[in-house]
Subunit: 124 residues, 2 copies
Amino acid sequence: MRIGELADRSGASIRSLRYYEEQGLLASERSASGQRHYAESAVERVLFLRRLYAAGLTSSTIAQLLPCAYAPSTTTSDHAFDVMVEERAKLDAHIAELLHTRDAIDGFIAANRAHRGELISAQQ
Amino acid sequence: MRIGELADRSGASIRSLRYYEEQGLLASERSASGQRHYAESAVERVLFLRRLYAAGLTSSTIAQLLPCAYAPSTTTSDHAFDVMVEERAKLDAHIAELLHTRDAIDGFIAANRAHRGELISAQQ
DNA sequence: TCAGGGCCTGACACTGACGTCAGAGGCACG
DNA sequence: CGTGCCTCTGACGTCAGTGTCAGGCCCTGA
């Protein structure tokens, strides 16, 4: 498929797809005229890339761990494996932080609901 | 306390503290000469601000929901309350995404460990 | 009273993942 | 064969939070 279709199906913009390629995260076959062509599997790959971006990973970090994700058979992926384990740990810490933040917000929401409840009671 | 101490105790840079003030997120008393002075409570407030930033909230979003967090008694905080509830929902969705991503990474890690196990077995 | 560190404002630099525009060629369809 | 949509490269713009620098005032201790 061409880049427009991949964009539609993955939810990424055409600009983003070209950027991912520039960063070495997404390969493409080129037609004689230079147009990019992608296999079906590219859709899922882009979705995974977007997931990693959403998790706060940077392009270069993703580039480092990708070999681990897509070529577990290579012996050269020691670094990729280490990076992936490290990022998993960071992600875990980040999730814990977010849970804590969510609890804090829940506290404020509860306090407000209580106050609103009082207001409503007072009005009645 | 002055800005330098607040920076030390909150972990935020002096630059950031001034920026938070500029965005209406952090008030300060000014001395006659114009220097900022903060109460003890500012430390905790800055920590909360940093937590919200880390959760991906933007300055203006934080500014919108802060009244709800620090003045639940005002009747004017309807909008703040709505924003806070909305952000809590987004945060929840984000956490779910991250958990999903973590699972995906765990899958890759497991696949790699398995392969490494095979390698080690083959070497023995 | 001088030194040195903290603080002030204002402004420009930077980073990263894009948006967007310009100018040009590719490709299918009527 | 031309029209219209898709794609190409290259380059500059954007946004948000922050770093950093300049030029100058504040304030405490020797």
